[in-house]
Amino acid sequence: MNNPDPNHHESHAEMREALRHDAARIEEPPFNAALHYATIRQIRALSATPRTRPVWKWALSGVTALALIWGSVAVLSESEPLMRQNHRDGNRTAGTASRSPRATSWTYRQAANRSDETLLTLLDEDARALLTPTAPAFSTPFL
């Protein structure tokens, strides 16, 4: 960055004067005690909140995701013999998913970054893609 010639300061004298004049016009309002103490209360509340909260959020998201994946695997392994049986009987297994989940671990992480709700929605969508609509996962809560 080029340093300006100090003599150029002279050419800005009028603008400097206008700025100083404007700054001098600014009035200081009286001390606002309500604003001050509301701020201090807010700081106290923030200080009382443990700073490890984001870590807890991560841990909670991770545990939820693991529980859901474990649940999905458990449900799949339970329903597989039944599906085979159905197939043998010539019955059509309505709505059995043949697709793989849409989300990757990256998208799960992105969803977890956004919110727990987003992550759960994504996991739910994938569970619906993998499981039959009548799977117990959709009628029995995991957590």
Partner: protein, 194 residues
């Protein structure tokens, strides 16, 4: 020249750094009116100004360990205040387009026709000057406000922003140049209107 902090100031700062909120509260009490006055002046809105001062104090508490006393406490707080304001504006409205200056000159003509007088003229000039400052790029706006409105020296601004004194000089020079050009444009618009 930065006045050296008194023993009481240093003691309060040390206590606040150790997590003493009442010491921090005492420190901030002395700064609030000046900060609020500045925030009202550049935001033009009392409620926004109060929010900005509140956010500034919270941010100051969180980063108090970064204040090393190399500039005045007010200058350090003022930098935080300016950045909170910049954040509150968002990308879209950080700069005021020239069209707004034209609108302001048009509005000013209508007002001057209705209310002739020195005080009104001074107010209009002040509003125009603040609009011109708002139209500057953030880095130029920052040094102008710190130099002229917070009355910080160039070396103090350098320390508060973590840049060299040469960069401060350069930014001030370019900012003043831009303001002068804008003023010339406004004068031209005024003349062409008459």
């Amino acid at each position: 020249m930065i006045p050296p902090p008194t023993d009481a100031d240093s003691k309060l700062l040390a206590q606040a750094r150790d997590g003493d909120l009442s010491a921090f509260s005492q420190m901030m009490e002395a700064q609030q009116s000046r900060l609020l006055g500045q925030a009202i002046a550049f935001s033009g809105d009392l409620h926004l100004a109060q929010d900005l001062v509140q956010e500034t104090m919270i941010a100051a508490w969180k980063s108090l360990n970064r204040f090393d006393g190399s500039c005045q406490l007010f200058t350090w707080l003022y930098v935080i205040l300016l950045r909170q304001h910049r954040r509150s504006l968002g990308w879209s409205s950080r700069r005021l387009p020239l069209a707004t200056l034209k609108q302001q000159v048009t509005a000013e003509r209508r007002v001057s026709a209705a209310q002739p007088g020195n005080e009104e003229e001074n107010t209009r000039e002040a509003e125009l000057l603040r609009a011109m400052i708002t139209s500057l790029p953030a880095k130029h706006r920052e040094v102008i406000r710190l130099r002229f409105y917070a009355d910080a020296s160039e070396s103090e601004i350098a320390r508060a922003l973590g840049i060299s004194s040469g960069t401060v000089k350069s930014r001030l020079h370019h900012a003043l140049q831009k303001l002068r050009r804008m003023k010339e444009k406004v004068n031209h618009l005024r003349q062409s209107a008459h």
